[in-house]
């Protein structure tokens, strides 16, 4: 037992210091009033939460985050699933295709943002392409109505390759006999897909959905690098709102309840993810 403790010690110490302590400290801080880094009132109850929920910026960021998540998750998963089905149909060269689809995983998020940021500039390559096929110049990230859809595009380019890896593996786990039996019974591709493949892929799909939701809920890099939450707050997701409250406005009384909310939601979603994992194990 002593050995087991020694072996677990690094993980347990890291857990206590870097996960539990921050959570506890944020929870504590969120019920205290702070002024110029000094705690002026050691317990103010939920007053800070009331302030946060009365803040138009915070409410706006909740709305933006919700809208973004609702759009980006189905888009990413639908495309990743489509690709995964394509890649597992035994077409010639699908091995090479799968290898190439992993490449975006190697591209660091910050790099992906720079590429897209440069290409989507008003005078950038994408607009040059659009002009070539007779479409007028688009403002993309500089326009309040186009910025969020553009972020969906960028986040999808970053994420889809990764999720395809999971779904391809999930499809390979399905024994061929099921799909063969369906086609012997005269089911077409579409029928087989909806009634045989999809139900058998449910577990993998569920995992991808949950993990993808966490990833997109915590989206930060494209916003910080490309839009700073703008134009007009249209891309001010929760992560960036917290960043701004903490380091630009330096308002811990508003930032801490937001941080607590962020962590609690993430932990809940991750706990669901783990239940899915352990059920897959049994």
């Amino acid at each position: 037992l002593a050995i087991a403790i020694a072996m677990l010690a690094p993980a347990i110490v890291a857990l206590a210091l870097f996960k539990l302590a921050p959570l506890a400290s944020a929870l504590l801080g969120s019920v205290q009033h702070t002024r110029f880094n000094v705690v002026t009132d050691s317990f103010v109850g939920l007053a800070n939460y009331a302030t946060a929920f009365a803040s138009p910026d915070f409410l706006n960021s909740l709305g933006v985050t919700l809208l973004f998540t609702l759009v980006v998750n189905p888009v990413q998963i639908a495309i990743a699933l489509g690709l995964a089905v394509l890649f597992t149909r035994g077409l010639r060269g699908s091995g090479l295709a799968r290898t190439l689809m992993i490449l975006p995983v190697a591209v660091p998020g910050a790099v992906a943002c720079l590429i897209w940021g440069l290409a989507l500039r008003p005078d950038g390559s994408v607009n040059a392409l659009l002009a070539g096929i007779g479409v007028g110049s688009q403002p993309f990230l500089t326009d309040a109505s186009q910025a969020l859809p553009t972020l969906v595009l960028i986040a999808s380019w970053i994420g889809i390759g990764y999720w395809t890896v999971f779904l391809v593996a999930g499809l390979y786990e399905i024994p061929v006999q099921y799909e063969e039996a369906a086609s012997v019974d005269g089911a077409g591709f579409r029928q087989t897909f909806w009634h045989v493949t999809l139900p058998l892929l449910r577990r993998t799909l569920l995992f991808v959905l949950v993990a993808d939701t966490v990833a997109n809920f915590l989206l930060f890099t494209p916003v910080q690098v490309l839009t700073k939450g703008g134009p007009n707050g249209s891309t001010d997701v929760l992560m960036y709102e917290i960043y701004r409250q903490s380091y630009v406005l330096i308002d811990p009384n508003t930032a801490l309840p937001e941080i607590v909310l962020l962590m609690v939601v993430t932990i809940l979603v991750v706990a669901v993810e783990f239940r899915l994992l352990s059920r897959a194990g049994s």
């Binding site: 993980a11 070539g132 932990i267 991750v270 994992l277």
Partner: protein, 265 residues
């Protein structure tokens, strides 16, 4: 199928090809022509300029941080995975759930709260601050434990009867048999660290300690200098090539490990 793959490859191809182009050409091309991709004159100037800039230091720090975090993380994760898979301890399943859930909460979710503490602990602008909080990864513990569970326990029983210590069982029997999972875990840790953005951004204030992705985006956002697009794309290309060098030859292990966390179990 190739059309779909092509759509995803275009931005990478655009980045690599344009990194060999004269800076002033990058943004000003217009119209639908091969010019968008093929530089009229291939130049290595961007890479030469990059080698003479602060970016080299940032690249070196990124390699150091990702390398150390991967090596130490793999050691600690495999120890924890082994203890939770093989050694009979009370409340093992509950402990396992606690460890995995805690570390499956991404660093990004706890980063803001952790930074408040990190200031008091003197971790700002230090390698310890960059590395320590991000070493251990819940999914890596999970996948290594699964791999250890797959090893017949008769092997460890026999060794224990012969008087081998748990350390010896771990090093001599379990580690060699878990090599595929270890390679996959190393890839996951390295790629995560190499791409990390939020925590390195928060914990470092001093530009002399910037990691490479931060150095690039800070230059991109600089309001005082004009942005050198050629330099940006050359730096981006290097940042992509490094993980790709590991990922492509070893992708089989990566796919198995990543997918194994979701499906196999």
């Amino acid at each position: 199928m190739w059309l779909a793959v092509g759509v995803f490859m275009v931005p990478i191809a655009w980045m690599v090809l344009n990194s060999f182009r004269q800076t002033h050409e990058i943004v000003t091309v217009s119209g639908l022509s091969p010019d968008l991709f093929i530089p009229s004159a291939v130049t290595l100037d961007n890479y030469a300029n990059l080698l003479n800039s602060d970016f080299v230091g940032a690249l070196f720090r990124s390699l150091l941080v990702a390398g150390v975090a991967t090596a130490a993380g793999l050691a600690f994760c495999s120890l924890a995975g082994f203890a939770l898979a093989v050694i009979p301890i009370p409340y093992r399943e509950a402990l396992f759930a606690l460890v995995v859930i805690s570390f499956a909460v991404p660093t990004d979710a706890t980063a803001f709260a952790l930074l408040r503490l990190a200031r008091g602990w003197g971790l700002i602008d230090t390698y310890a601050g960059l590395i320590l909080p991000v070493m251990i990864d819940g999914l890596v513990i999970f996948l290594l434990r699964q791999s250890f569970l797959g090893i017949p326990h008769e092997l460890s029983d026999a060794a224990r009867v012969d008087g081998a210590s748990w350390w010896r069982v771990f090093l001599r029997i379990y580690m060699p048999l878990a090599v595929p999972a270890l390679v996959g875990g190393a890839l996951i840790l390295f790629i995560t660290q190499w791409s990390a953005y939020l925590w390195p951004l928060l914990v470092v204030n001093d530009p002399q300690m910037y990691l490479a992705p931060i150095a690039l985006t800070q230059a991109y956002q600089s309001q005082f200098r004009t942005i050198d697009y050629g330099l940006m794309l050359a730096g981006s290309t290097i940042l992509t090539v490094v993980p790709a060098l590991f990922l492509l030859p070893l992708q089989r292990y990566y796919v198995q490990s990543v997918a194994g966390t979701a499906i196999k179990a």
